[in-house]
Symmetry: C2
Subunit: 268 residues, 2 copies
Amino acid sequence: MPLPEIKTVSFAGSGNVASNLAPALKRAGLVIRNVCSRNLHHASALAAIVNALPVESLEDLRMDTDLLILALPDKAIPDIAIDLRRSGRFKGIVAHTSGSLSLDVISRQGLQGGVFYPLQSFTKHSSPDIAKVPFCIEGTSSEIEIALAAVARKLSSDVRFLDSLQRASIHLAAVFANNFTNYMYAVADCLLANCDVNPDILLPLIQETALRLKGGDAAQLQTGPAVRADWPTIDQHLELLKQNPELAEVYKLISSHIVKLKNSGKAC
Amino acid sequence: MPLPEIKTVSFAGSGNVASNLAPALKRAGLVIRNVCSRNLHHASALAAIVNALPVESLEDLRMDTDLLILALPDKAIPDIAIDLRRSGRFKGIVAHTSGSLSLDVISRQGLQGGVFYPLQSFTKHSSPDIAKVPFCIEGTSSEIEIALAAVARKLSSDVRFLDSLQRASIHLAAVFANNFTNYMYAVADCLLANCDVNPDILLPLIQETALRLKGGDAAQLQTGPAVRADWPTIDQHLELLKQNPELAEVYKLISSHIVKLKNSGKAC
């Protein structure tokens, strides 16, 4: 039997994820009951936006809420799950928003719940379009998965059922595709600043490189001196980096992998 | 005294750069006289698009043309410059489109000319908006720089005067910001394919990471487990990569640089 529709939601946490999800859920017609944070000032700021009641402790949550979203740092979530099991008073669904943490942190406490992971980088500097954010759903039962997916579907057109190992691999892949690329952007900025070139000169190229991807085709789109075995250019670049042996090491390692990618067709 | 306006252009080369620039110049009102390629079939295909005459040899170019653009691989350009000097018949401006090659390849042959470098990745797979492509201009005289910049200004709103060392640094920075990021996308694609996740799941994140940059602010936008010293997640990722020690090496090296970036504030 399907679970009743989720209509009321509370948040543990008031950081970047909660600050993006809570207003989106409210706009989608759900009622946000509580925002819980040890920092009541933070809880209050978000609660005011979504017409919720801020609380400092899990004990103060309204217990008759359909869904409690744990939008917290990974290291905080296992202990919160233990607290919820020990108290035994919360009867709704408990879902965390972590890419790395397994479903186990919920299920091994005997809680009914799952994972509600939005695959996007939420920062103070940006407001991604939530309607395009992929939501990765996993549940302690298929009924719960359906109920969580129905909530995600109100926010986004891209909702996927994925298990904990797949989600961990997605999180790892996102480190390469997001964090490591951003590091490469930071290196480029720095190299340009060092020769008095405004780093905004790279923005059209960066955006073209990202926007032409269709998903799964990056290996075919690889360009640059390494993939075309342009050794004079590679030598020139290493000469430009000779004052910076650590960056030269990065340049050589990634270039060697691009050569292997070209030869084998496989990046991993 | 400023040079007369450049109104007629020929191309040596018919690859991706010429195939993007020639039609854009024609649309901007310039006359494309010749497209020269050792492969007459390629020359003819582009020439037909821009209403030009295809030729197989530099000797067959119309010599009364204002500008000859050398849109060729780096390794071909020095010899072409030597040929033009020896023949002595071409009296117009000669400009190459390379990021890496110095102005010297033109000036040391006594040619009047310079560099007309569009900082963008032109491939068969994409047609970037030429109006936003940064053009890097350098000339053997300031009059020639002005004349080349006037041509670039008909194509793009972003035209910059930059010397050969700056241009080489831009090209190096672009390898980090474009080629190395694309490699990271290829790794991510592969990791996802290995666990049966459609790699298109990463596209919104990749695009957000690229589009939120404003130029020069990537270091401040760095996120991920390394920058927040999230060792349990890093350990989990290295465990996921244990069958792939080469990728684990990339993961560790880039993560260690992100930690240094956080501590020092400098990426180079």
